[in-house]
């Protein structure tokens, strides 16, 4: 034993990587949390203090369930990497502001334990945990999850989201949409706050523009063709700013774990997302379709990656061509020999 230890010290040749990047999971997750803070602040300002309570409860539910699960299964405790915090925040920002607290808490437990940990923890889940939990809650608690009552309103009249208003054929104010003076879930209402966070993520190079860019572009083109409104910039802008499109495109579709990693794959992924969202919004029964579009595309992700693997150095088209020629030559020689 001693000898081997000595030898290791003398000539320690480890396999690659020899250089390590300072970017850690923790750093990335912290950036995402920072980027979501403007949207959260706006949500709290716009909907009241209860929105903050919902967010804290959801984050706590996620972190605690991750801790308890890993403790019970005797796994390394990974709550300090911040991924559970991000899941909790995304889930909370997807909640309507008047939600009874037990619903987001249940969603947080579901996201972490069923969607993330049962598949092997961070990096192994095939679906975005927060979005899967949101869909779980949408199906389970349809009524409270779609109750976008504006808190503080005198009569507490339930108000429709801008997308629902547009679906009904009426028009909405783009300025209100952009700033976030509308009803909706806690985090999705203010396009401005979300874009601020997105700009931060892009500047920090946490995300690339490929997925969100292609997503929104495809969506706009799809709406241009199929929405029946034609080239109406005002309507298109409202469709982009309303609902969860911007939040989904920059914060949820760009999840490393559940999205493709290859550059070409990311473009394809964005296109699929855009088309699916368009289909759900135009032809679907409900006004919104971002979350279902994203989890459906999550499932397609391995297939996309399979067909978009970039060519490695030394394995290009010409190398293949040369190989093919060599093989053909061999074959002809072979045939010639046999013929003789």
């Amino acid at each position: 034993m001693e000898q081997t230890a000595e030898r290791k010290k003398l000539a320690h040749v480890s396999s690659s990587p020899h250089f390590r990047t300072p970017v850690t999971t923790r750093r990335l997750m912290l950036d995402v949390v920072i980027a979501m803070i403007p949207a959260l602040l706006w949500g709290v300002y716009h909907f009241g203090f209860y929105a903050l309570v919902v967010t804290i409860a959801t984050v706590a539910a996620c972190v605690i369930s991750e801790y308890v699960y890993e403790r019970c299964m005797k796994l390394p405790i990974t709550i300090d990497d911040g991924s559970a915090v991000v899941t909790g925040m995304i889930l909370a920002l997807n909640m309507p502001p008047q939600i009874p607290l037990f619903i987001p808490v249940l969603g947080g437990v579901f996201a972490i334990i069923v969607v993330k940990q049962l598949y092997g923890g961070l990096g192994q889940n095939f679906m975005n945990p927060a979005l899967a939990a949101r869909c779980f809650l949408m199906i389970s608690f349809a009524k409270p999850m779609t109750d976008f009552t504006m808190p503080g309103a005198v009569d507490a009249v339930s108000s429709a989201t801008p997308l629902a208003v547009m679906k009904a054929g009426e028009s909405v104010s783009l300025t209100d949409l952009f700033i976030g003076n509308i009803s909706g879930t806690i985090g999705e209402v203010s396009a401005l706050a979300l874009l601020l966070g997105a700009a931060y993520l892009l500047a920090r190079k946490v995300i690339s523009i490929r997925i969100p860019g292609m997503y929104i572009l495809t969506f706009v083109v799809f709406m241009l063709v199929f929405s029946g409104h034609g080239l109406d910039p005002y309507y298109l802008a409202c469709q982009v700013c309303g609902g969860g499109l911007i939040f989904g495109a920059f914060f949820m579709a760009t999840d490393y774990v559940t999205g493709p990693l290859t550059p070409a794959g990311q473009m394809v992924y964005g296109v699929i997302l855009g088309v699916l969202t368009g289909i759900f919004r135009v032809f679907g029964a409900s006004a919104e379709g971002v979350s279902y579009a994203i989890i459906l595309s999550n499932i397609l992700c391995p297939l996309i990656e399979k067909y978009t693997v970039p060519t490695a150095f030394g394995k290009g088209r010409y190398v293949e061509l040369t190989k093919k020629l060599l093989v053909e030559n061999k074959d002809t020689k072979h045939v010639a020999k046999e013929g003789r």
Partner: protein, 245 residues
């Protein structure tokens, strides 16, 4: 334990058709929206299973080997028709809720599986007890799944509501809920190590380990990986044998 009781124990616990052998998944997932539905489906299947095992076992020396599957299906389908008509006559409500799944008992893997694996090789009485055991195991599993789904999804137990409507997690009475509950219950079964075909008991495993034998599935996937080379070698050997012959 007498060999007849052993059959029943085997069907309910050791080789439970749902949680251990994983047969008959279609009715398991589709008809367990409530405990009473699961119970009804389980009993209907049990009735068919008991008599199909009895009849097939009695005819096992007459049925030619080459056409045994069509022969089994004729027997099973006749029994299912009888059960279906009886249910339509006497338990109309259950008949309406189960709908298409009653005629589908014909293609239930448990019934075909037991006919092929057991009834075709054993005496009628023993086969009948095997049918009773398997049927009760199936009924028990379906009732438990239905109970969990009904309790969480609709807040009621055998139709009596005990949880207020605001707290119903209604996804559990829909299709995904069936998968959740089945997965969790199967995992629990595996965790509790009920001795079964795939789950050796602690002593058996230790004895095998001592002799350096494979220990079967002990819930540790690495165990299989340790034998991966051996398995690959066996597969290659077998392939060569096939090639030669």
């Amino acid at each position: 334990m007498s060999k007849y009781l052993e059959r029943i124990w085997n069907g309910i616990i050791k080789e439970n058709p749902t949680f251990v052998i994983m047969l008959g998944m279609c009715p398991t997932l589709a008809t367990t929206t409530s405990a009473s539905n699961g119970f009804g489906m389980g009993l209907a299947t049990t009735a068919v299973l008991v008599f199909s095992n009895l009849v097939i076992s009695a005819l096992r020396n007459i049925i030619p080997d080459k056409v045994r599957i069509p022969a089994y299906i004729v027997v099973i389908a006749s029994l299912v028709t009888i059960v279906q008509l009886l249910m339509q006559a006497y338990v109309q409500g259950l008949y309406n809720t189960l709908g298409i799944y009653i005629p589908l008992i014909v293609v239930n893997c448990i019934i075909m599986g037991r006919a092929e694996a057991y009834a075709a090789k054993h005496s009628p009485l023993l086969s009948m007890f095997d049918g009773i055991g398997m049927g009760l195991g199936f009924t028990l599993a379906l009732t438990i799944i239905g109970f969990c789904r009904e309790l969480i999804g609709a807040g009621s137990v055998f139709g009596y509501e005990i949880i207020p409507a605001d707290f119903h997690v209604s996804i559990f009475v829909m299709a995904p809920g069936a998968f959740f509950v089945l997965a969790v219950l199967t995992a629990l079964q595996n965790k509790l190590k009920a001795p079964s075909a795939t789950n050796l008991s602690e002593e058996e495993r230790n004895a095998r380990k001592k002799q350096g034998q494979k220990t079967g599935c002990d819930g540790n996937c690495q165990n299989c990986m340790l034998h991966a080379e051996e398995i690959a070698a066996n597969v290659a050997k077998r392939a060569e044998e096939v090639k030669k012959s």
